[in-house]
């Protein structure tokens, strides 16, 4: 670990002032950042601990939604009675991630910003465009089992590894951000993470000095909420493929279908065309298949992860069948 300065402001304003400049990094639960610092994947000169800034409550919003503070732990979110009853997809997604011990430390903001688990990213003796721009991508011709099949680029094929944000994407939640100069902005979770393109070092839209203050969930939505995470080990493993779904029926047809996918891309994958395709139709195997065709239209495997394409198709079918009570 490189030596670094630790600062621990007790107001958001103070934190904003401290976190400007390329060399400062925020630390919340530390469950991701500290691992990466030990490996020298992250080498901040200044670490700004934000644990004294409050932002640790879940509050009702005026329009009937919930506002989850950036420092609310994953455990607290998943255990919150309102989340469990009204946003079960979020509680389930969080509980499908990591372990109890990690979730006790992990925070809303940290979880959104967690970095990829790409084996080459976490090994500083290997090439990686995300960690060291221009050094090449170790994964493309290497071991790409964890990697993406949608929205990849020739410079990076990494996945965003988290679960929580996949559910938030299906729920169409919003990230609230304050910048160094105190100005505030809101970004839909669906737009928060970026595709790698030719700037793979940028995971998300945050600019230097910006701090996430909360994530806001829209008012209660109708329908069944499911989170399905596929992995060979039944816990404490990142998703091979995951699906967050909010599906409502009206009579025999689908009235609402909000779907987001994990494990497939550099961001929680949300494709608005799926909802357009599914809504208003009666659920059956052929419909689910055409949804998968649409989803995977431009999917590209990299050898090791080719399996994710059929697996995503099958998992989507399983989720849609369960949500619409269709026998396949």
């Amino acid at each position: 670990m490189r030596p670094f300065d630790l600062q621990r402001p007790d107001s958001l304003e103070h934190a904003r002032n401290l976190s400007t400049g390329e060399t400062a990094t925020l630390i919340a639960g530390g469950t991701n950042l500290l691992d990466l610092m030990k490996l020298q994947v992250e080498v901040p000169e200044r670490v700004v601990a934000i644990d004294r800034l409050g932002m640790n409550e879940i509050q009702a919003t005026e329009d009937g939604g919930l506002r989850i503070g950036a420092l609310v732990t994953n455990t607290a979110t998943a255990n919150d009675a309102r989340i469990r009853s009204d946003y079960p997809v979020l509680a389930r997604a969080i509980l499908a991630g990591a372990t109890q011990q990690l979730r006790n430390r992990a925070t809303t903001g940290g979880n959104l910003c967690q970095r990829t688990r790409c084996y080459y990213f976490t090994n500083i003796d290997q090439p990686c465009n995300k960690r060291e721009p221009g050094s090449g991508c170790g994964a493309i011709e290497g071991i790409a089992r964890l990697h993406g099949v949608l929205g990849t680029s020739s410079s990076c094929i990494a996945t965003y590894p988290g679960d929580m944000a996949v559910a938030m994407s299906a729920l169409d939640a919003t990230v609230e951000i304050v910048s160094a100069d105190g100005s505030e902005r809101s970004v839909p979770v669906r737009d928060f993470h970026l595709l790698p393109g030719d700037t793979p070092w940028r995971d998300n839209v945050l600019e230097t000095g910006e701090i996430i203050t909360a994530v806001t969930l829209p008012a209660l939505v109708e329908g069944k909420q499911l989170y399905r995470k596929v992995r060979e080990r039944s816990s404490y493993a990142f998703a091979l493929v995951s699906v967050a779904a909010i599906i409502a029926m009206e009579g025999d047809t689908i009235a609402r279908a909000d779907l987001a996918f994990g494990g497939l891309a550099h961001k929680p994958w949300y494709d608005p065309r799926l909802s357009d395709l599914l809504v208003g139709k009666a659920p059956d195997a052929a419909l689910f298949d055409s949804a998968a065709d649409l989803l995977l239209e431009n999917a590209q495997g990299y050898g090791e992860n080719d399996f994710k394409i059929p697996l995503a198709r099958r998992t989507l079918a399983a989720v849609l069948a369960e949500a619409t009570e269709t026998e396949l």
Partner: protein, 729 residues
Amino acid sequence: MTAHLKQDEPDTANFLDTMKQGVLGKPVSRIEGLAKVTGTAPYAAEYPVENLAEGVLVTATIVRGEVVSIDKDAALAMPGVLAVIDDKCLTTRAAQGTANEAPQQNPRKVDYWGQPIAVIVAESFEQARDAAKHLSVEYREEEGAPLDPSAVEPEEQEDETVDQGDLAHAMARADHAADLEISTEGHASAAMEPHAAIAEWDGDKVTVYASLQMLNYNITELADSLGVDEDRVRLVSRYVGGGFGSKLGVSEEVVAAAIAARAVGRPVRVVMSRQQVFQCVMRRSETKQRLRLASDGEGRLDGFGHEALVSNLPEEDFAEPVLQSSHFLYGGKNRALKLEVARIHRMTAGSVRAPGEAVGMPALEVAMDVLAEKTGVDPVELRIRNIPDCNPEEDLPFSSHKLAECLQQGAEKFGWDAGARKPRQTRDGEWWVGTGMASAARVHNVGEARARVTLRPDGTAEVRTDMTDIGTGTYTIVAQMVGEMLGLGVDDVLVQLGDTDFPRGSGSGGSWGGASIGSAVYLACRALREKLAKKAGTEESDLALRNGAVEGGKSLADLLDGQELSEEGHYEPGEIADTHTASGFGAFFAQVRVNRFTGETRVDRMLGAFGFGRVLNAKTARSQCLGGITWSIGAALTEALHFDPRDGHLVNCDLAEYHVPVNRDVPEVEVLMVEERDPVASPIQAKGIGELGMCGGAGAIANAIYNACGARVLDFPMTPDRVLAAMPD
């Protein structure tokens, strides 16, 4: 005095059964358990040594070649850095189990990505690690090092080759034949305690606190590495946080700590990072296997073929002994067995729990399941039909053999349905549910062992040996053995292990610890009993000791009359090992569910029935079996090392990405111990336990997956992608 036995004859007297204390075999909880769970049992990195400097290994970033130069000055200029050491005596690989000599040295020569090439010593761990990450090293790389085991011409291990009769002919004329290619991926030991050592010199003597399984061999390996006499080395390893083979031989950090401490004139601690433990200690080799079985209409084997390709670095003697139990488990007079090693430049391959059978047995048991289906014979019955009367290759009698009993009793307890079997008979929502079974076999080994038992004037006892307890329960079974023999409660026996200043034990490895050290302790106790019998005016065989006294007579303290009695037991394996085939046997039964959509497999329940001689402690023995079955689940479903195709480095080198089973993967597991007395295995009639529980279990799961959903998966681990690829529509 030393009581010595080299066992050349079977021991059918079962003398232990005439003892009166009644503590041996009982489910006694670990006597060191409280110290461990309260954090007072020191592990290697935790010994309170003053003035410690911290060492961190620097590892190579090329596959093969030479270190041309190291920029030591730059590193030495970094804060806190005391030394950059690339001494030619540093070791670059861990020693193989029982090597008894220095492993590869000379850190200037690089043979695999991740190989230690230097150690940096600094005031703090963080400083040392930072300097290690920054060290600038110039290499001369030798391109073209082979990395893919199937792309090189392999070397045949000739002592493994068997060619009896004509297997090809037997296959051609058989009523039923199975011919399969099965692959398994590499495994890691993944012990919780990372490899760590603290070395402290006092004049020309060094004490090293380390995490090692076999001090008796490790001391020689370390002394040889350092170029000093063994009597100048002391190794201490009182508690070991899991080894599973990875701590059999002296590993790189142990030698590095000793060299570094000598160089800086201060005690030095070297702890490997988790990534280093994965990348530079030991891997289990991946395997490619071919199984050929030829049978008559009733499933009786006439032909048996098992060939395997494994890999290792050049200059390593170890080749994953995949065929070990295949040599004798089933009959068939036409036999072809062959083991080949591909020399490649991935990290060292060596022992990982149950080397050989861990991967050979599941493959064989899948082939047996295929044959059962072809013949229409129930899988349990098929195995029973093929149990040979004696070792089919060497015509040696078995020391004892409980396979049939394990199969039968296991089937009954599990509720095995011996009716007609067909895939996809049971569905529970999205899940196909099915059952499968497999035999278990693991060769039995013993090693030379010494232990000193002292009866103190107050009638309590103390045992000293450099034997290790790697979490298996050795402390406790040693106390039970002494208690049984000398009529003492476990609390009256102080057990001191893991220090080479004590008589040399066998060490823990190859499941031989319990039988070997148990025998040495037993022999010491017999000698003590001789002396006590004399004092009591009776024969040793009539001396009934219980609760600290001669039954109906004097207490031990009175008998000792202020004196101390001390004896050393010395046990050596004898000729009997060459005149018999000794193995543990057993059977696994599994019920699994396979998701029709995602191919995810979850184990519902498993049962293992095992015969491994005398049970020394019903609780720790059962725990070993539970651990073995857990490893079976890992080998079946989740565990695989992945190596980069271009530089051979191990990519999934931590516990987040190398997937050992978690609690939720290990459901209801039942263990049935089919107790027996093996007169050949050891003078205490006990055999190895630790590894048997994973020798075949993954095969039972594979067979259950087939029965559940019709996917005959031939590549382990059977991850969802592989299950889906094999799943019929």
